[in-house]
Structures are given as C-alpha cells and as structure tokens.
C-alpha cells in the first residue's frame, strides 16, 4: 500500500472528521468553533479534489480483520445501548446480528474462501454523494455552531453536552463518506451501523422525551441493519463474494432484496417512516444534515447502486418501484394535513426519497438520471429549508406554519432565503422540477406508477403553495427591518441559497456534464435498452431552464422599471374588510397592528367593539385523518414488502 494522493484524500475524507470530532469533544467552546471550521474547509477541499481525480480503487491490507473488529465493536455498542434502555427487541436483533457476524468469522476460519475485491473505490455515483456530504455537510456544521449556541441556553437539564453533540455531528461526516466509498460490504455495513449510532445519539440530544424517539429510530434502523448483515452473510455463503462488484456480477437476487429492505428502513420509506417523523424532535442542524441531506440518502444510494444489475428480475424491480411510488404519493397526501413545519419537511423528504427509489426501480437511463438529479437538488434545497425553519423557530418561538405570517418584515433575509428554498422545491426553472419532469417522462410506459407520480406531484404543489403563501404575508412598510443574524448561520443560509440559485440556473449544464455521462457509463453495454429509451433520454436536453430564468428576469425588470420607483405611499390602501377596518391609518410603523399579531384581521363589530378574525389554511383534516391514512398505507406497504420477499423466494 503506497501513499498516493488518492489514498491520502480517502483517508482525509473518512478519518479526518472523526479526529476533528474527538478534538471538538475535548476542546472548550472557542477552540471548538475553530476546529469545526478547519474541519469543514479540509473536508470540502478533499471532497472537491477527489471528485476531480479520475476513478480509482483502494485496497487496505488486513482489512478483513479490521472491518470485522469494527463491525463487532459497533454492534456491541448498540447491544450495550439496548441493554441500558431495556429495549428487548433491539437487544434481540443486535444479538442476531452479532451471531451472523460470528458465523461469518467461523466460516472464514474454516477455510471458506471468498473472492477478494478492492475495499474502497470512487466512481461517478460515489462522487456525487461525496460532493454532497463534503460541501453541504460542512455548511450545515458551520450553521450548527451558531444555532447550538442559543439552543443550549434553552436546553433542558437532561440535554447532552455540546462536546458530545459535535463529536457525533462531525464524525458522522466521515462515516458517511466511508459509506459511499465502500465497495467491500463488510466496511459498508460497519459505516451503515455507525451512521445509525450517530443518528441515535443526535436525536436524543435534548434528553427526556426525545429519548423515546431516538429509541424508535434505533429500532427501525437496527431492523435494517439486521437485514443487511443477513444479506451479506447469504452473499458470502452462497456466492462466495463480499463486495458490490461481486453482488452485481453474481446477480444474486436474495441478498439484493435484503439490502433493499435495509435501504428502505434507512430512507424511511413506507412502512418504516415513523422514525423520521419522530426524529424531527432533534435540533434543526441534525434534521438538516442527517435526516434530509445525507444519511437518508444512503438508503437511496444503496438502491441506485444495486438495481442496475438486476434488470433480469423485472418483477422484483416492479415491486421496488411500486413501494417508491406509493411512498411518494402517500407522504405527499399526509404532508397536506400537517401544520408543524418540520413534519411537513419530513414528509416531503420521505416523499422525494420514495420518488428516487421508484426511479431507480424503473431501470431506464432517463429514470436513473432522474433519480440522480433528485438526490442532488433535493439535498441542497431541503438542507436549506431546514436551516431556515430552525432560524425562524428561534426567532418567533414556534414551529407552526400558522405563526409564520409577517416574518417578511421582521427577518427579510431569512424569509427571502426560505422563499428561494421553497420555490426551488416545486417551481420551474429550478432543479427539482427538472428531476420531476424527467421522472414523469420516464414512467410513461407504466400507467400505475404514472398515476401515483401525477397525484403525488399535484399534492406537492398544494402543500408547498400553502406554506409559501403564509410565509410572505405582510403589510406595507416603507422600509425593511435590518435583521441581526448570527454570522455563522447567516453564512450558511446565504451560501446554500446561492447554491440553489446557481444549480438551478445551471441545471441543464449539470445534467449534460455530470448526470448524462454517469448514466451512459452505468448503462454501457446494455443491449436490452431500446433506441427509443435512449432518444427520450437525449431529448431531456430540451428543458428550457435558461429561458425560464430569462422570463423571471424580464418580469423583475418590468416590475423595477414600472413600479418600484413609482410606487408612492399615497398609493397604499387598506385591505377590503367591508369598510370596517379597525386600523385608522394605512399602516403603522410597528410590526403588528393588534394584540394577536399579524395572524388576524381586526375589524369593528357590533357596538363598535374591535374583534379579531382569523383565516387559517386548509389542512383537509376532515377528509384525511393522519392516523387512519398512515395505518392503511402501512398495511399496504407491508403487504408489498412481503410480496418483495416472496419474489426473492425468501418466503
């Protein structure tokens, strides 16, 4: 093993965050911020450099032993946690995992040979995820510096220390990088379990009530871990290989299905979505990093990596697609009923992950490219939105959408950034719409999936528009308020917002330069892909992103020329409340007009009494009861999972 620059970068990407995490744990506050910023810069630089380099592989001598020891250690830690919190289910599953790992060790000792392959590798799919983890991740870490300062002031006494928080937060970046670069399945499952552990510790940060949610997350993710270890064991025994390369070459259906089930738990698809909803109780940087931008993408990454090799099992692929599509539509339906901002974001994340899995299951080049595009654009947009919601929550003290009216005047910068983020989730010309467009075009030949996707995207428009509308309600103010924002948080928000705008502007360029070549490489040599499918893929270049931006620019220009400079204060009028407005002047210099704030309209009622009326948004709670719909969706999803296992001849 020689020290090449590739190996060095690899080591930096995986080990440096862990080291810096220990430093952050041990150091006092000032030094901690410095070390986090230093770590961010190093990781980002390393990520970009390794992306520019050509694809390479890396083999670690003695990795078998190291990986096994680490795996045993991690499962042991989870076992210990299960014993302390007295959750027998997790205990049983961890014991089963441990048993399987021990069985593997025994097999290796008794001469069962396994074909070796390289341990770590970078290929284009890996590079995309490395970029996301190494660029978006550190930005969120910098945000966390500012956010946790004030969070810790209001934290309950059961909260863990900031040192522990940042240890797991920063070390997670290393684990995630290792997960996407691992080719050897032993290393992969070690990193998988490590991210589960990080997630557990970070969700339970505030202690008390959040421990229950953390336990639930641990339970479902350990179930996934069990499925993964079982799959790896099967692969080792039956096909005598233990790498992704070997899995795809051997076309082993059973391990693939087990790995997919593990992926479903990590990505919180139906029926495993309850842990992600409970995880929203964690501090906002955790939600941004783990539960929207990176960790839950690990599951969809896994599906994207294994499905290209299994086009010979159309039934299995079809079932995977159905689960993804059902999640997409179902989570969008449930998001309509939510008024808690973080739950809306959580359901939206689940929905988009379902779409990724559905596209991966369809298996055509365009669908694959669509899945990649969703992963890229969703990571940036959703991370940005979580950061904005965190900042808004700190300012107004509430997570409810209904309380977010009138923030346009109080925090113009944050609100504009939040508006950019939300518009990027559903409007052209941003990247998410490009990916949804490609997804719809790729599901043309399967009517059932198409119907789900159409219904899902209509519902998506619904719940996002409600929220965007509420956030930018305001009255007339001659000048905007100057917003005082913590520099770390401000830096992250502005950087991500710029990222959203730039990737939106360059979405076609990204598609042509990155996603198209990756897709062509993945599907190279596939004789079963027809000409027609390739032509649809090439026609995806017709998305007129630049024209749409130009149109937006024209509208802004016309507005600036004709209205902005000419609009006078004498042109402002009161809203129409049948003449009974209670405000005597057109606007007040203070932010609110009446005691209930900007939510309500004060009008003069009988006896000249001033009453407040209030119009809320529609949540359709009479038609969609979250509990009932969740029960039905979970039931259907479990049936589909059982069908999936049956297709793989496991049941």
């Amino acid at each position: 093993m020689e020290i090449t620059s590739f190996n060095l970068l690899l080591a930096v990407l995986i080990i440096a965050p862990v080291v810096f995490g220990v430093v952050a744990y041990l150091s006092p506050d000032k030094l901690r911020s410095m070390s986090i910023i230093l770590c961010s810069v190093i990781v980002a630089a390393a990520g970009i450099m390794i992306t520019i380099k050509p694809n390479n592989t890396f083999e670690l001598p003695g990795s078998e032993m190291i990986a096994t020891i680490l795996e045993v250690a991690i499962v042991g830690i989870i076992l210990y946690i299960a014993m302390t919190i007295k959750n027998w289910l997790i205990l049983l599953m961890s014991l089963a995992q441990l048993g399987m790992i021990v069985a593997e060790i025994i097999l290796a000792q008794t001469g069962h040979t396994v074909t070796h392959s390289y341990d770590f590798a970078t290929d284009p799919l890996t590079k995309i995820l490395i970029l996301i983890t190494s660029i978006v991740g550190p930005i969120i870490a910098i945000y966390a510096i500012g956010y946790m300062k004030s969070h810790q002031e209001h934290a309950p006494p059961t909260a863990a220390s900031l040192g522990q928080f940042f240890f797991f937060f920063i070390a997670f970046l290393g684990f995630m990088n290792g997960l996407v670069m691992a080719n050897n399945l032993k290393w992969f499952s070690f990193f998988w379990e490590a991210t589960t552990l990080c997630s557990y510790m970070l969700i339970g940060q505030d202690g008390g009530e959040s421990r229950k949610n953390a336990e639930r997350a641990l339970l479902i993710n350990t179930f996934g871990g069990l499925a993964m270890v079982a799959g790896v064991l099967w692969l080792t025994v039956e096909n005598k290989t233990e790498s992704f390369e070997g899995l795809l070459a051997a076309k082993a259906v059973i391990p693939m299905v087990l790995l997919c089930v593990a992926a479903f738990t990590k990505s919180a698809l139906l029926p495993f979505q309850s842990w992600l909803l409970g995880a929203m109780i964690a501090p906002t940087p955790v939600s941004a990093l783990l539960h929207s931008a990176t960790m839950v993408k690990a599951g969809s990454y896994l599906v994207l990596r294994v499905t290209p090799g299994f086009h010979d099992s159309p039934k299995v692929m079809m079932v995977i697609t159905i689960i993804g599509a059902l999640t997409f539509a179902g989570a969008a339906l449930l998001a309509v009923t939510q008024s808690n901002a973080k739950r809306v974001l959580a359901y939206s994340t689940i929905s988009n992950l379902g779409l990724v899995v559905a596209c991966a299951g369809i298996g055509t080049p365009l669908a694959y490219a669509a899945a990649l595009a969703i992963i890229c654009f969703h990571a940036i947009s959703k991370g940005l939105l979580f950061l904005c919601v965190g900042r808004i929550e700190q300012k107004i003290g509430s997570r409810d959408i209904e309380d977010m009216g009138g923030i346009l005047y109080r925090m113009p910068v944050t609100t504009s950034v939040a508006l950019i983020g939300m518009m990027s989730m559903l409007l052209p010309p941003f990247g998410m719409l490009l990916s949804k467009w490609m997804a719809i075009e790729s599901t043309i030949r399967s009517p059932l999936i198409l119907v789900f996707i159409i219904l899902g995207s209509a519902l998506t428009v619904f719940f996002w528009s409600k929220w965007i509308g509420r956030i930018q309600t305001s009255s007339y103010h001659p000048k905007f308020n100057k917003e005082s924002i913590d520099p770390a948080m401000g830096f992250s928000l502005i950087t991500l917002a710029l990222g959203v705008l730039l990737t939106g502007l360059g979405s076609m360029w990204i598609f042509k330069e990155f996603l198209a070549p990756i897709t062509k490489e993945v599907f190279a040599g596939r004789t079963d892909i027809s000409e027609e499918l390739w032509s649809v893929f090439n026609a995806a270049g017709n998305f007129a992103a630049v024209t749409l931006f130009v149109a937006v620019g024209i509208a802004f220009l016309a507005y600036w020329l004709l209205v902005w400079r000419r609009f006078k204060e004498t042109d402002v009028r009161l809203p129409f409340l049948c003449g009974e407005n209670a405000e005597s002047t057109v606007y007040t210099t203070s932010a609110f007009h009446n005691s209930e704030g900007i939510r309500s309209y004060a009008f003069r009622s009988m006896g000249d009494k001033i009453e407040n009326s209030w119009s809320s948004t529609t949540y359709l709670k009479n038609f969609i009861s979250e509990k009932k719909v969740t029960i039905w969706l979970n039931l259907i999803a479990w049936v589909i999972i059982i069908i999936l296992l049956g297709e793989a001849h496991l049941l």
Binding site: L433, W437, P447, L455, L548, A558, F567, D571
Partner: protein, 288 residues
C-alpha cells in the same frame, strides 16, 4: 436554444404574442354577449373587454404593497411564455409547468396581502389546481403514447384527429377548462360576475393597471385553452374551429344553468369521475 430560432419562428412568436390577448378578449366579449342573449337582454358590445382594459390602465395605481404587484407581473410574463412555447412547439410538460408557475404566482400574490377574502380565494385556487392538474398531465401522456414524443408540434403528425382516440380525455379536459375559466359550478375562487361570497376572491386587492395586467393574462389563458381545444381536431382546422365553438357554447350553458358549488365537491368530483374516465382512456391507449 435561442440561437436555433430562425426568422420565421421569431415572426410566428411575435404574431402569436400580439394576437393571443386580442383573441382571448374577443372570446370573453362573446361570452358576455351570448350570456346576455341567453338571459333575454341585449348585453354589452363584443369589444367591451377592450374598453375595460383601456379604462383599467387609466386608473390610479393603488395597491396594498409592492410585492403583490411583482406577482402580477410574473403571472403575466409566464402566461406569455406559455404562448411562446406553444408557438415554438416545445415540450408539453414544460408548457404545463410554466402554466402552473403562472397560476401559482397569482395565488401567491393573493396570499401576500393581509386580506381575508384574498386569502380564501387563493386557497380555493390552489384546490382548483389540485383538481385539474392530473387530467392535464394525463392528456400529455396520451399524446406521448400515440406519437412517442413530448413535443407540441408532434400532434400535427398524427393521421387521425385526437378526438377520435381521446374522447374521454376531451370531456375531462372540458371540465378542466371550465375550472380554469372560473365558470359555475367551479367559480369558487373568483369570477367575472357580480359579488361572490368572497367578493372577487383572489383579485380583490388589485386595482387599476395591476388588475389590467391580470385581465390580460386571463385573456392569454383563454386563448391558449381554446387553441388546445381546437387542436383536438388538428387534421382539419375548420372542423377544429367548429369543435371550439361547440365547446364554447357547452361551457357557457354549463355556466348559466349551474350555480356555484363547494370546493370540496369540486375536488371530490374531479378526482372521481373525470379522473377515472381519463385513466380508462390512457389504459385503452396503452394497451393498443
């Protein structure tokens, strides 16, 4: 993409951009005239909408704040963009998304002001979008299944009129058009007639030239919708014109005989009967 357009296409784009609001205004004027005749009175002249627009632009520009005006501009620009895309025969899903952007800008403009009627009108408009959007996407899917292309120009290459292969989709599309033009029984968010229960809904806080902008965008939308109806018989545009007239009369009769029903009824209705008819049509096309 701009560099690929030659001079003929530029002329077509310019002509359609200028002609579309005129056509839309004439259709709106005819609407009022025929409605009046149906009610036994004389009604305004057919060019009344032009007088309305000119009058609106001579009024004092009042508003509640500046942001809502920006949304009115975005609404108009994107509706014009839809016309441009249609004239260039672009990807149909793109056209649909640009149209959705335009409607969402109008909705956001309504929600950006602190006015209860405006807010309720905007929420109802979103529910209208929720009701008709699946049908529009299904129409595009049906066109793809028959021509293997998403481009708008590809329908001209079909040998038979679209109405023959997509009859159920056409009926559902008529319901969608009725919703978009705010005709009873779907005029829950705003309407051209007198007081609504929410007094003009979305457009309540727009006045003078800004209301004029929204009206012009509405003319563009009318022209686009009726153009698409005409395209359902694309092999013979004269018969297409007749189809358009029949559809116009049908929507008018629907408007004058029905009274306004609730938003939830509209959602339930559109997501049951027209949606199932459309899906049936798609499955029939897919299995052919």
């Amino acid at each position: 993409m701009i560099e690929k357009i030659n001079i003929t296409q530029w002329i077509i784009i310019a002509v359609s951009l200028v002609a579309a609001p005129f056509i839309g205004a004439l259709i709106a004027g005819l609407d009022r005239k025929v409605t009046a005749r149906m009610q036994g009175r004389k009604g305004p002249p057919v060019i009344q909408p032009f007088y309305d627009i000119i009058k609106l632009f001579s009024k004092q520009p009042v508003a509640l704040h500046k942001l809502q005006i920006l949304y009115a501009f975005l609404h108009l620009v994107f509706m014009m963009l839809v016309v441009v895309f249609l004239a260039m025969g672009q990807d149909l899903l793109m056209i649909l998304f640009a149209h959705a952007f335009s409607t969402i800008c109008l909705v956001l403009g309504g929600m950006s002001v602190r006015s209860p009627y405006s807010r309720i009108g905007s929420l109802r408009k979103i529910m209208q979008m929720l009701a008709y959007e699946p049908i529009l996407i299904l129409i595009i899917v049906a066109i793809y299944l028959q021509t293997d292309s998403f481009l708008a120009g590809s329908v001209m290459s079909m040998s038979k009129p679209m109405l023959w292969s997509m009859p159920l989709l056409f009926l559902s599309f008529l319901c969608a058009v009725a919703i978009k033009l705010n005709k009873s029984p779907f005029d829950v968010s705003t309407s051209h007639h007198a007081h609504q229960e929410i007094v003009k809904g979305i457009t309540i806080e727009y006045a003078g030239p800004y209301l004029g902008i929204i009206e012009i965008a509405h003319f563009y939308e009318t022209a686009i919708l009726f153009f698409i109806i005409m395209m359902f018989w694309q092999t013979n545009l004269y018969i297409g014109f007749g189809l358009e007239t029949l559809a116009f009369l049908a929507i008018l009769i629907l408007d004058n005989t029905f009274s306004r029903l609730t938003t939830t009824w509209m959602l339930k209705y559109m997501w049951s009967i027209p949606l199932f008819l459309s899906i049936a049509n798609i499955i029939w096309l897919w299995s052919k």
